[in-house]
Symmetry: C2
Subunit: 343 residues, 2 copies
């Protein structure tokens, strides 16, 4: 049950209400690797609890999923017909105020960490703050430590200046795992041309989001509009700097979107990208509802003018190369989809 018939398929951000059903959909959809969010506002101990839950799934469903730690694990997933699960955080809450936890969390498998969610963190400013003072004193220290151990800096929810500074300060390429260009849909969470250009020039990666609040036309966004946007972004950033990061929040109850937005920081309700009238999870576009729908995006990319190699780059090869460069203490590189440890 290996996956020889397709090029790598990697989704660099999901936060579903995980279940065996969803893991089986990953297999049906030939998804080789998924970066899963395992913490929004959880502190260290709570994050460990979430890891315990994943350990149970890995124990119970070894024929479907296993924990990914290196780019080689994506190859292993392809060879054994399974999906490699990579852990990440959308806020630095799991490391609390303790730089020593960066290495501990990397040892536990964390491969991505956002320096901020929507609000100011100890490290950087979130996109919902009125002012952005850039990377903090602690943030500079933590970026260096993440660079050292091989944890990717993710600025998907961070504010503009903080993002540009993170790109500049980090000695390794960073990622925006789930967002779209503001030139296509000027949502607060989508990214300016300046950010995307700096990200591409520094060797970083953008993962295109299918979360309706990030889409032009929201839930009604067409596949063609989405894929034409990807083609324009390839022109802006380079065809090697883009991938998929769907932000799939499948089967989640609306209480979860409230946790994502409100955490424990306010006694009021904050609607984030939503509104009082539209507070819950928005409906997904017709062409992407779960892990079985990646073929639709491939079809859309071909229609938008991508050749087979270009489609493969967007659907997984670019993330695979980036994973190879990013997760170890030494530089790694990927050639023709095969991961080789560098000297």
């Amino acid at each position: 049950m290996s996956n020889p018939g397709h090029s790598p398929r990697i989704d660099c951000l999901q936060y579903a209400n995980w279940s065996e059903k969803i893991f089986r959909q990953m297999r049906s959809g030939n998804v080789d690797a998924v970066h899963v969010t395992i913490a929004y506002h959880e502190n260290f101990r709570e994050t460990v609890h979430n890891i315990e839950r994943w350990n149970r799934w890995f124990e119970q469903l070894p024929e479907l999923i296993f924990q990914g730690r290196t780019a080689e694990d994506v190859q292993l997933a392809r060879e054994t017909g399974r999906t490699a699960i990579f852990f990440g955080f959308q806020n630095p809450s799991p490391m609390e105020d303790d730089i020593g936890l960066v290495e501990v969390l990397h040892t536990l498998g964390a491969r991505f960490m956002q320096l901020s969610y929507n609000n100011q963190s100890l490290l950087a400013t979130g996109c919902y703050e009125a002012d952005d003072s850039g990377i903090t004193r602690m943030g500079r220290q933590v970026i260096r430590e993440m660079n050292r151990v091989g944890m990717v800096i993710d600025m998907s929810h961070s504010a503009e200046r903080s993002t540009l500074e993170a790109i500049e300060i980090s000695e390794r390429p960073i990622a925006i795992t789930h967002a779209n260009p503001a030139f296509w849909h000027p949502a607060l969470r989508n990214k300016s041309d300046d950010v995307l250009r700096a990200l591409g020039q520094s060797g970083g990666m953008l993962g295109f989001s299918v979360y309706p609040h990030h889409l032009k036309g929201s839930s009604d966004c067409s596949l063609q509009s989405f894929c034409d946007m990807i083609a324009r972004t390839a022109d802006l950033m380079g065809p090697d700097r883009i991938g998929i990061g769907t932000d799939l929040c499948q089967d989640q109850p609306d209480t979860v979107v409230e946790w994502m937005r409100v955490g424990r920081w306010t006694k009021e309700i904050d609607y984030g990208e939503g509104s009082r009238e539209n507070a819950g999870f928005p409906e997904m576009p017709s062409w992407f509802g779960d892990n079985t729908d990646f073929a639709n995006i491939e079809t859309g990319l071909r229609a938008a003018g991508f050749d087979a190699e270009g489609v493969a780059a967007v659907m997984g090869n670019n993330w695979l190369r980036f994973y190879g460069q990013s997760f170890g203490t030494h530089t790694s590189s990927v050639t023709d989809g095969r991961v080789q440890a560098a000297q």
Copy 2:
């Protein structure tokens, strides 16, 4: 063994290496109340551990100290010849990312909380950051909650814009418990005329620090220079807006100043107000080394032109009035040194 012979004497900031010796010095010095720092970077659980340590002292030395919770407790201290100990934090770490902990910590006795120490916090910017983006989204929520339960906002270590915004946003007067005016000694931790004027006009309080890094001439600062500075500050802020907050760090080993400065946020050494050559606790000025020396400051204030009432205001009556206004959910007031709960 009551203290009928002197007006209230309150020190609104100490962080000593507490011991029976120091508590006995408080008694010898007729100190009626001390705001003690019980957390720098401690999280909630660690702060509770520090409270447990204080509970043992209260249990073991009830003839010397007891926990203060209201302004009435200062009067009780005077009537019973003891020192009332009020808890405070120099960083919001004890509340972690959880606004619900504000009330819990107030119930446990916390009466002061700095919105930031030297670095950016989740609530405000510290004075050592390169840029100050003001009070954060969470900070606005937490200020409202502190106002509600009666926990004083302390901006001693915060940056300028954050401090001005805290004064403006808070519906109750705030405090700078331990700092001096920059016009006298332009250290990063000392405060501008703008901040002091806004603080005074809003009914807030400044506590004058004796920590040598805050003193003109450092450890060699003269008592006269210190007291003349107090007189000038009274002119700037009003004679009712000033008190003492010595920042006494008596008997602490240098490892403690490293914890204060470095916490867990960096793997490097940060020297804070010190330097590589002068990394430890500086030597105290000759006229103030411990709790038995408050009479020296009183003498200095008389020499600087304060009358008896003015001296009493600076040495304790102003803080006593402020405590009466600040620690409850309802407004309180102090008249002629007697606390009365307001309607």
